[in-house]
Amino acid sequence: MIAWPMAHHMRFTIHSPGAVRRLHDGGSGVVMPDPHSDKQEINRRQQTRRLFEQEVSRLMDRLYGTALRLTRNSDDAEDIVAETVSRAWTRLDQLRDPQRMEGWLFRILNNTFVSEWRRQQSRRRIEANAEDVDPAESPEAANFSLFQKLHQPFLLWWGTPEDQFLNELLQEDLQKALDTLPDAFRVAIVLVEVQGYTYDEVARLLDVPLGTVRSRLSRGRAMLQKALWEQAIEAGLVAPPPDRTPTEGKSP
């Protein structure tokens, strides 16, 4: 019976923590474990296990949501979370401080995602070309600022434009805009803005220089804001810039 369907590309085995116990025969010279401390050890493990189950269920939505933002795909996100829980479970003994389980789980999630992402990249033989400047990308696009767009004089708003814009902005709009970003840029933003990673932590996780993290973030944010702006125009939330507005009179 396959209790746990796996995507073909993600196979791994599960070991219960403590499944491999140090077993000594009772030969001379072998110190028998103190039954009292052994019992304490078992209690400690049971507590850690219980805490693990509680934490996994408490964090399930956020683990899944984070994986979904990283992968853009619900099947992949489910695989990442399932593998994360399994990996964490097999390494539970390595967790020194059970109170730090949350950060630990998210680290495993990110590592799981990154190794899967690398594998896909190498399979598609896509070299790390994320830093290549898109020839179509103008300096204007690289420095795109939603705030500046909202403050263009032709936009007449009641109240302050940026507050109105934010009020109208649905979570779905943001998800959609984030999903339009190329992987490298989206991942940097999710790590920093969603998970609160430092630039240094992102650099180490992705094994790229700090400058690369900065440039991905900066360009990623510009892309995100541009996508939001274009969506807002499409939704009729803001008027398109004058140069794109059909002028007076109708074309024949």
């Binding site: 899944y64 619900s74 489910e78 399932a82 943001l174 803005e193």
Partner: protein
Amino acid sequence: MNARRLSCEEVIEELFAYLDREVNEALSAEIDRHLEKCRDCFTRAQFERKLRAKVAETANVSAPERLQRRIKAVLERY
């Protein structure tokens, strides 16, 4: 202390790093001071801060039933 005053351009240039808490303490304090006095930069900072918070909220998604069951099965195997 004769810390040089930051221009609005310099503040905007460092704004994201500032919001990410990636600038050093001295610069962070300089930007704080600027934002207390400059309405334009303050409004901009507030906008970016709120937008950033909304991006963070995009991970608030309910895990599908299927995943819940799958995880439960993993945990129950031991």
